[in-house]
């Protein structure tokens, strides 16, 4: 089946890219003073010489470089991303384990909001082509995606937390009124739902709104622009004319023939959207003091914590490559010419 072959090819490509990224980070770790221990423990590590010798033996640090690379590679696969000096030498993987769920919460919520707003505005814009509504929407989304995500965060903060004071300006839940849920899926807000921990859910949701909203606002412009042009293009297509000639009513025509064909172009940009969301989440989390990967990355940057920086980059790279792969496969599935031809 062609789809399988296509998926395999994309998978291979994804692996290739990740491998490339790993190589780059490996090369970089060695450039930093040529000492892997520096890469793991930061620029100024102080270790007992015995400990150093132990590490050198365990991780084959005195072996030729390609051997080191292999062990590095295996180490990463095992989850060893080094130790983070900016967090008291806590293992990077552990830090990421603690922060990733919150980033995912923001990103996924923002994704949903973003797609909803983006699609809705795109459809309205296409329907009322060249009308004042269309112009206004255009101004709105250009302004939105031209603004840095943290600026939108600032604006949203000012409006809701400073001016109206109805939503909190920082944090992720109010410990005074709720307890954290036990770990089931890994996403605290989902876990609390599953558990029935409504106090936490309500509180966490309250703190999640602003960061997700800011992130969604920063990103929806891409979707609106593509949806609008895709819809406009599709409506000019001959098969729309055929559907009309059949006597099909506009509503069904739109949902059965126009939207699906336009949606295919949207799948293509969904990976771009994810990329924007992930990089944007860094900024938004910092502005709202949301305990995701963003603030940790900033901390690592400020302290020249290379293990942290590289670890975060690798994790993000993995997420993005995976989403790209999924989007490619989804697109191939949707387009019958690829699926069957």
């Amino acid at each position: 089946m062609n789809l399988l072959r296509f998926a395999l090819r994309r998978l291979l490509f994804a692996v290739f890219v990740l491998f490339g990224v790993l190589t780059i980070t490996f090369v970089l770790s060695h450039l930093l003073g040529g000492n892997v221990l520096q890469a793991w423990f930061g620029k100024e590590y102080v270790l007992h010489p015995n400990l150093v010798a132990l590490y050198q033996k365990t991780y084959h640090l005195n072996d030729p470089i390609w051997v080191q690379f292999v062990y590095y590679f295996v180490g990463i696969l095992r989850g060893n991303l080094g130790f983070s000096p900016s967090r008291g030498f806590e293992p990077v993987s552990q830090v990421i384990e603690q922060t990733l769920p919150y980033t995912l919460q923001v990103v996924l919520t923002a994704f949903v909001v973003c797609v909803v707003i983006g699609l809705a505005l795109g459809i309205v814009s296409a329907r009322y082509y060249k009308s004042p509504v269309d112009r206004f929407i255009r101004v709105f989304y250009i302004g939105a995606y031209s603004s840095p995500p943290y600026f939108i965060g600032v604006v949203v903060l000012i409006i809701f937390a400073y001016y109206f004071r109805i939503l909190p300006s920082g944090g992720y839940y109010n410990p005074a009124i709720a307890n954290q849920p036990t770990v089931i899926t890994g996403l605290p807000i989902v876990d609390s739902l599953v558990e029935g921990n409504w106090a936490y859910f309500a509180s966490a949701a309250r703190y999640l709104i602003l960061p997700s909203l800011a992130l969604a606002l920063a990103t929806f412009g891409i979707i609106t622009r593509v949806a609008r042009s895709a819809l406009l293009d599709v409506m000019q297509m001959d098969y729309i004319r055929t559907a009309r000639a059949k006597g099909l009513e506009e509503g069904k025509l739109f949902s059965r023939h126009a939207l699906p064909n336009a949606a295919v172009s949207l799948i293509t940009i969904s990976s771009l959207v994810m990329t924007f969301l992930i990089t944007g989440s860094i900024f938004v989390e910092i502005i709202f003091s949301y305990p995701g990967i963003g603030p940790y990355l900033q901390l690592a940057l400020q302290n020249e914590d290379y293990p942290g920086i590289i670890g975060v980059t690798l994790v993000f790279a993995a997420i993005i490559v995976t989403t790209n792969f999924l989007a490619d496969v989804l697109y191939a599935y949707a387009d019958p010419q690829i699926r069957l031809g």
Binding site: D238, Y239, T242, R244, A245, K246, G247, L248, N261, Q337
Partner: protein
């Protein structure tokens, strides 16, 4: 302002266009694509509308079914009488009830005219379902918009979601239709996507789709232009059969007189938005009267003899943004007289089954 074609005492026409005028707004001005066209189409007729690009034949076809591009084209005069209703002045939602069920249309490019993401059988089934819905009165003309919220009739099947194949209840009907248009192995074809079929097959699918709602009138806009000659002949033969077996009136729009000659009973020649000659196929080819028609016939390559040269018509079609007085063909006409630049000739009957708009004949 013409006398009707047809034998005296014949049945009233199926469709009667009177004084139909259609204008386009283009970047370069307003174009009168159709100027006061009078046309009466009889039931069971195979009518060919012939002319160069830009003569208005496609516009005529689109106006009959109400598919003129709404943003740029408007019917600025005249009427289209069909079963007692003036189609030219109906709203889009009212027109919708006639489309597919009474008047149907197929287009030139079968590949782009079919939705690339849906299986061919599904698209035909969509039309069948529309017919059933209409029969049930769920979407009929004259509806005031009251939705009757009774439970969905279990007789009308639902169109399957994307990618899914048709349920058995619809497959037999679709198969029947495909057999009607002489598609081999219909059961296989139902599940194919448009890109998997050849041009000729796709056009047959379009025809099947157009016929599925059993329309009284089928308009075909250059259906064979994108096909190779052999397939062309097959499709034309098919259309002839459909007229014979089902009694559907067919209007074939084409630039190719040779195509028309293969299947039509009656030919209308159009030029610059006007009908210049209207005759039975026999009459037109044995006694072409309008100078333009004569020129068209002379254009048809006559064979491979060394001295057989191509005879084009001098000049080019007029700029329709400019309103001219007099006969539109006059600048290119080898027989033009003083009268021709003063007044625009109207259709005049010269023989039985033959009308022409030219001052040479009165």
């Amino acid at each position: 302002m013409s006398r009707k074609l047809g034998r005296p005492g014949s049945t009233p026409s199926l469709l009667d266009a009177k004084g139909l005028t259609v204008c386009y707004e283009t970047g370069m001005g307003r174009v009168k694509a159709l100027s006061s066209v009078d046309l009466a189409i009889q039931g069971r007729e195979f009518l060919a509308v012939v002319g160069e690009s830009g003569c208005g034949k496609t516009t005529l076809g689109l106006s009959l079914i109400g598919l003129l591009p709404p943003k740029s084209a408007r019917v600025t005069g005249g009427s289209i009488g069909y079963k007692g209703v003036d189609l030219a002045h109906l709203s889009q939602s009212e027109l919708r009830h006639y489309r597919g069920s009474e008047i149907s249309m197929i287009f030139q490019e079968p590949l782009t005219s079919l939705n690339p993401l849906r299986r061919v059988g599904n698209q035909i089934a969509e039309a069948i379902i529309l017919r059933k819905e209409r029969k049930e009165g769920r979407t009929g003309p004259g509806e005031t918009g009251l939705r009757v919220y009774d439970s969905r009739s279990s007789d009308i099947p639902r169109l399957p979601r994307f990618g899914k194949k048709l349920p058995r209840s619809l497959r037999s009907e679709v198969s029947e239709l495909l057999r009607l248009v002489r598609i081999p192995d219909p059961e296989q074809i139902i599940d194919r996507y448009p890109f998997e079929l050849s041009g000729g097959m796709r056009q047959r699918v379009m025809i099947a789709m157009a016929l599925s709602q059993q329309p009284a009138l089928l308009i075909a806009d250059e259906p064979t232009t994108a096909l190779d000659v052999t397939t062309q002949a097959q499709v034309l033969r098919l259309m002839s059969e459909i007229r014979d077996k089902l009694g559907t009136t067919i209007v074939l729009v084409t630039h190719d007189l040779a195509v028309a000659s293969q299947v039509a009973d009656r030919v209308i020649v159009m030029y610059a938005g006007e009908i210049v000659e209207d005759a039975s196929i026999y009459e037109l080819f044995s006694d072409p009267q309008h100078p333009y028609t004569k020129g068209l016939l002379a254009c048809i390559p006559k064979g491979t003899r060394r001295d057989a040269s191509l005879v084009p018509i001098k000049g080019s079609i007029p700029d329709l943004t400019i309103e001219r007085v007099g006969c539109k063909f006059q600048p290119r006409c080898p027989y033009s007289m003083q009268r021709c630049s003063e007044k625009d000739p109207v259709l005049v009957r010269t023989k039985e089954n033959h009308e022409v708009a030219c001052f040479l004949y009165g």
